[in-house]
Amino acid sequence: MAVDPSPLGRAIRAARAEQPPGWVDLAESIMARVRRVVVPSEPILTFTEQGTSARDEEGSETYVSARVVSAALRRLLQQHPTHAPDNIELHVDEGRLTGIDIRLVARYGVELHPLADTLRPQILDIVRDLLGPAPGLDLSAIEIEYVDVSRGDPNRT
């Protein structure tokens, strides 16, 4: 393609090549503001090893934000190149976690059913670490749906 020698043509080439000064500092400022953004999130009740929500004789209770649970599950599901989380939905009823819906993207060629069977106990372990043994929350409360398949590591797409 012929190079446009006009002043405007030269200005366009210069503008395309321009690296705006101050970008590095601005990127840091953007991320600092992003980290300060508080996303509304539902509180989820935790349970003691005895299966009760009361922490003392006065019935004090402890809650963990749904955002914390989702972030922990996201990190778990990002660990391997065979799959990546597409969506994590927590079902909370009157403060209690009642179900978890996970949407996954799998790498092409991965055995889907065995992968889901491997992930469910890991997901439940994470949830129990954070919330304790919530009554009624077992493997059957964890739904895994594959929504896409990718050629490479789906964590990189």
Binding site: P7, A11, P21, L26, V39, P85, V105
Partner: protein
């Protein structure tokens, strides 16, 4: 993108690093002031972070981000008065010569002249010209980013090109 939508800040940082320089450059050319452009770009990215989970993917991520920047730049512009161009500036500048070792200096002067000429363009002409000529977006992408019909994009671009060519011809 997928991880950022789920709240992964490191993944969002990759989006900032990949698309941020172009967004900031667009904001700079649109509002003409580094401080305002920084604010516009920051607000656009914070908005993107808040609403990324709702990004449906009907356009490319880049087009969506440019749209966020454009909206905030437009908000800023509504509260401003136009700055008249210094017509004497372009005649004072030295035209560029091929293989000139001072090319980078000349490029800086050329860009300054371009910015002054852009400042005089009506808002939509400036936006369509920048997105087409500098950011090299398609008519369809510009149409989505600026929320205007493709025919209007073509019209604004035609008029913007003509005006800028006349303005910048003084450099010959």
């Amino acid at each position: 993108m997928r991880a950022a939508r789920l709240g992964d800040q490191e993944a969002f940082r990759e989006i900032v690093d990949r698309h941020g320089p172009a967004m900031y450059r667009y904001a700079l050319h649109m509002v003409g002031d580094a401080s305002d452009a920084s604010e516009v770009t920051q607000e656009a990215f914070v908005s993107a972070w808040r609403s990324l989970s709702g990004f449906a993917g009907r356009s490319s991520l880049r087009t969506w981000l440019i749209r966020l920047v454009h909206r905030r730049a437009a908000d800023l512009q509504r509260n401003r008065r136009a700055t008249p161009i210094d017509d004497g500036l372009m005649s004072r500048l030295t035209p560029a010569a091929p293989d000139n070792p001072l090319q980078s200096v000349l490029d800086a002067e050329l860009l300054e002249a371009l910015q002054l000429a852009l400042n005089e363009l009506p808002w939509h002409q400036r936006a369509t010209w920048l997105l087409r000529e500098v950011e090299e977006m398609s008519y369809e992408e510009i149409s989505i980013a600026l929320a205007m019909p493709i025919g209007a994009v073509r019209g604004h671009l035609y008029r913007g090109r003509r005006t800028l060519a006349e303005r910048m011809a003084r450099w010959r």
